[in-house]
């Protein structure tokens, strides 16, 4: 297959001899597309690197150049994804090299090069697909990162008092989120040396069996660690769910409101709150 990808040599020779012209044309074609979002200079630097690799693909016996080419494309595609380019804009940037080369072939009038062009074209199409794949993977990653950040934002563990931590949960609880909150709560208990925690679910509209089980397990795990966990703000619907599902909350302390739970935890930690007359 060596040499096949970049043509039988005519196109490779052309890429070498007409470098300036082809590269100029390629840059100009892509620049139309990305105007304002990427400077001409940045673009030129990127394309020069790709061009250099493209020109060497012909002599690529062991596939190193092809590997480098794919890596360079993947890199370009990743940065485009981060900059908010669409995947077609990115791919078209690669496909544009075909037009630039075709124009050079036409100018040269070399019929042999024309024949090779079909293979060159197919090769570039493959490269375009690489950018598509990388682009999609990168966007997935961006979405995953954001989901994780959102999760962290929505699951705060706060200090209510010396030795008392609070977790005010708001919104729909799914199993994954509950698990993450619970783990970070237990970790915080250790880090801060707190012996009491209040999990407040006033802002939670509903729970399913799995979430209720996670809450329960957290309280049990907190107990094994020598700490005391109170659940507050159980809405009537949730109370019904818990009873309906037959989940045994046993001797777990629950309070109607966060204030009641805090008062309970304060009392347990030996703090009494009195009004200054």
């Amino acid at each position: 297959m060596s040499g096949g990808a970049g043509g039988e040599g005519r196109i490779a020779a052309l890429l070498g001899s007409r470098e300036e012209a082809v590269l100029d044309r390629w840059t100009a074609l892509v620049a139309e597309n990305v105007r304002g979002r990427l400077t001409e200079r940045e673009l030129r630097a990127e394309l020069t690197e790709l061009y250099g690799l493209l020109a060497r693909v012909h002599d690529d016996a062991d596939g190193t150049v092809r590997g480098e080419l794919r890596a360079a494309l993947a890199e370009m595609s990743r940065s485009r994804a981060r900059q908010g380019f669409s995947p077609s804009e990115t791919a078209v940037g690669v496909f544009a090299v075909k037009q630039a080369v075709l124009e050079a072939v036409e100018e040269s009038g070399d019929t042999e090069a024309y024949r090779e062009f079909a293979r060159f074209s197919a090769f570039v199409d493959d490269l375009g697909l690489v950018t598509f794949e990388t682009y999609a993977a990168e966007r997935e990653q961006v979405i995953a990162d954001q989901a994780e950040q959102l999760l962290e934002l929505s699951t705060p563990v706060v200090k209510l008092w010396d030795g008392i931590l609070g977790v005010p949960l708001v919104g729909t609880l799914d199993s994954a989120r509950t698990q993450i909150v619970m783990e970070s709560l237990l970790q915080m208990l250790v880090e801060t040396g707190s012996e009491h925690a209040v999990i407040d679910i006033t802002g939670v509209p509903a729970v399913d069996t799995e979430v209720a089980q996670h809450l329960l397990k957290t309280v049990m795990a907190a107990r094994l660690m020598g700490t005391d966990c109170v659940i507050s703000g159980i809405r009537p619907q949730i109370a019904q769910t818990i009873v309906g599902l037959g989940i045994e909350f046993g001797d777990i302390v629950t309070k109607a409101t966060l204030a009641d739970a805090l008062a309970y935890a304060l009392d347990r930690s030996g703090v009494s709150v009195v009004k200054a007359v």
């Binding site: 993977a137 990168e138 997935e140 990653q141 995953a144 994954a176 783990e183």
Partner: protein, 141 residues
């Protein structure tokens, strides 16, 4: 980058071997990028099952390996798989052995059902007189 620990097959012939199985499971789970909680779960399951192999199976082996499966997200999802095998008496009544609270050896019967709860995949292959093979897998979340 640190060197990836290699999986492998360990004999289970003594209580020290049980500890070695735990340690190998731990290093592979950590290298696979598992959360601390998940690491602890697979290591604890490994401990329960290795003890079963030793005490009820009369000894055997544990093969600990890193596994991967395709993920809808970029790249593959890593995990750890452990296969416990023995040529012991086998388990005559599997349903009973997997039922909560059942034990054949003076314990509280948490061995098999407990280990099953700690992993994502659990497979029990046994026949009276032909030994027992338990395969467990835990995936990174």
């Amino acid at each position: 980058m640190s060197r990836e620990p290699a999986g492998g097959e360990l004999p289970i012939a003594s209580h020290d071997d049980v500890v070695r199985v735990r340690q190998l499971a731990r290093s592979l789970a950590a290298a696979a990028g598992m959360s601390l909680v998940d690491q602890t779960k697979i290591v604890t399951a490994a401990s329960e099952l290795a003890r079963n192999t030793l005490v009820y199976g009369g000894g055997g082996t544990a093969r600990v390996e890193r596994v991967e499966r395709p993920s809808p997200r970029a790249g593959a999802r890593a995990g750890v798989r452990i296969v416990f095998s023995d040529d012991g008496p086998g388990i005559p009544d599997v349903d009973q052995a997997l039922a909560e609270g059942w034990t054949s050896g003076g314990g509280l019967g948490l061995g098999l059902p407990g280990a099953r709860r700690l992993v994502d995949e659990f497979d029990l292959d046994t026949e009276p007189g032909r030994g027992t093979t338990v395969t467990v897998t835990k995936w990174c979340r």
